[in-house]
Symmetry: C2
Subunit: 415 residues, 2 copies
Amino acid sequence: MNAEIIAVGTEMLLGQIANTNGAYLAQQLAGIGINVYYQTVVGDNPERLEKVLKVAESRNDLVLTIGGLGPTEDDLTKQIVARHLGEPLVVDDDAKAKIDSYAATSGKNKTPNNAKQELKIQHAISLKNHNGFAVGDLYLNQHGTSYVLLPGPPAECLMMIDRELIPQLKKHGDQNRVFNSRVLRFVGIGESKLVSDLADLIDHQTNPTIAPYAKAAEVTLRVTASATDKNQADALIQGMVDQILAIDGEYFYGYGDDNTLASVVVNQLIDRKLSVTAAESLTAGEFQSTIGSVPGVSAVFPGGFVTYANEAKHQLLSIPAEVIKTQGVVSKSTAIWMAQQAKAKMQTDIAVSFTGVAGPDKLEGQPAGTVWIGIAYRDEEPKAFLYHFTNGRQRIRARSVMAGLDLIRRRLAVH
Amino acid sequence: MNAEIIAVGTEMLLGQIANTNGAYLAQQLAGIGINVYYQTVVGDNPERLEKVLKVAESRNDLVLTIGGLGPTEDDLTKQIVARHLGEPLVVDDDAKAKIDSYAATSGKNKTPNNAKQELKIQHAISLKNHNGFAVGDLYLNQHGTSYVLLPGPPAECLMMIDRELIPQLKKHGDQNRVFNSRVLRFVGIGESKLVSDLADLIDHQTNPTIAPYAKAAEVTLRVTASATDKNQADALIQGMVDQILAIDGEYFYGYGDDNTLASVVVNQLIDRKLSVTAAESLTAGEFQSTIGSVPGVSAVFPGGFVTYANEAKHQLLSIPAEVIKTQGVVSKSTAIWMAQQAKAKMQTDIAVSFTGVAGPDKLEGQPAGTVWIGIAYRDEEPKAFLYHFTNGRQRIRARSVMAGLDLIRRRLAVH
């Protein structure tokens, strides 16, 4: 089954907001074996939207629109698709009840614009909106093109995709085939090395398929299997995952589309009751901010140090000025001192430290991207590792943070 | 003139990478009066790309492709567009010289795949690649659809848009009209309030036009004018900017598409030789990391504190445990103590502090999004302000950081 996603909205067309819904939808459809061959963005303009619908219908089994279901005058997607299909709009009772109840409890009058959001296309299956009012539609057409209408706000759209659309498409899809997929996440290995390590598996893939994607400082693989039932699909996936991990398991850190290395590491620390701190120079707080993004981190993270200037390393971490003077601030010794002192001062189980050249200028004669990362773990001898990152200040800092998280992950993997 | 942007690449189609090039290109085209009516994404598939070209040609004066100019087998855009136009590919001498010189100095043999990148469509104007090897094309067609071919890697694409494409389109466009635009950036005001404040101007806009965009924690306005020469366009823009700033100048912080509040504030601090530090609780280092992203910040930022736990506020900032116990950690007093103590310990001119509830859970009975931000400026009485942010942990933290930067900006604006 092949599909086209049409994002409706002038802001997206003009590049003012990114089409993140379309990207997410394409990924979820791939997971159930629906191939997205085209994505189109069109403004809030009835004539051009209708043109785009006609083109999409001519080349796809399934057309999915995102946006234009809201209450304003600009929101016209449902009206135009309904007219295109020759179906009237009818009231969806659940959506109406939700809007009426909101109007009653908030004391605001229900306007005709509010009421627009309770309409669905006749003969469509309603897709409930868990984060808003506008109801979505799944209009199945056995002998032609089927249509899906989703709302534009990401919180509404993503929830509707996960909880309503994908389950409905699975239910109404080929009853004899089940698709399942799993995302494996890797850190500390580039896409090209991973792909070349796995070349035999990738070259001979049929079912399951393996799709590698390079992200900012990590690589993911999506393994997708089709089978006659879920257990068989899972078994196919597991067989492939075992083969992949036998080759590159060292770099594997977790499953899932929305997982992050910070989340995996912080949750391991919480589970094992290990506290953590950091002393950051070039990253200027980005490591702590990143672990701070994980809910529940307060159980293991008391706080830490941003020691950007040399005097701050001396003042806040009591690193002898002599060390920095003789060894250099971008050095193994300084990284080790920073980790050790941060751990001692905050009395944590673990500390990591970052000292390096964010750029654009050289520092102590060392080029941008030269980074030392230290780790102190309980009573063990603290260590520091040298990295050479590239591609500008923000990438150098982001990759430093990932490398620091990876040092903790690797230490925790030992026992 | 109306235009369609076609992004070519399976990774973009499947949502693995975002179509940031397309968004940027649409913005730049709008700035010279070219309206993008459609954007399409298609995979690395010759048949489907050709279909998409035909549809685009039927509805646009200008079709711009992004991607598929590289050296691999998948890169087929130039070949397919050339065939579609009935033009052969010919060698571009400058691109060839660059590839030959790279091969000579790197000692690597030039392969046929490398050579692909030096080809351009006959009768096209070459668009030089400042960050790579693949040459771009501007194929002008006075009586039909014109074509532009741009490379996919963002560093190559954006530079080619700025330095080659836009100047060429201006040169070959309507010689009697000049378009110019300026982006105004606002913080501390929502899109709806800004638009309602400026309703009179927006409702009556013709030339210049005013386009508001809401970003993560700020709003921008793009003012675009067309005129017979650049001076006249600039004068029209300046007249509109003056009217806008007379109404909402208080919230205006700078010009430019790529400007940031962090960059404006840090550069003001550098200019005025004012040093800054921070004590961060809920933001966990994100404020310091954000100012750390600005090159040159080391001149005014020695470092600072991440005091996530109450004990860390006591230990690192010497805040009496009694203050936190009696006033609460999410309180005006704690925010003021944090700012004051951070400033004293780091001996800076300015310190900001952040204490609040990042969520998802309540803290001290206060809901997620309750945030106190403190500022201590030289010998002045330190102050703290209460904010209520929404939309989840990451948004609450990001908006806190913007509000902290805005407090500094407002203080610096006084004198």
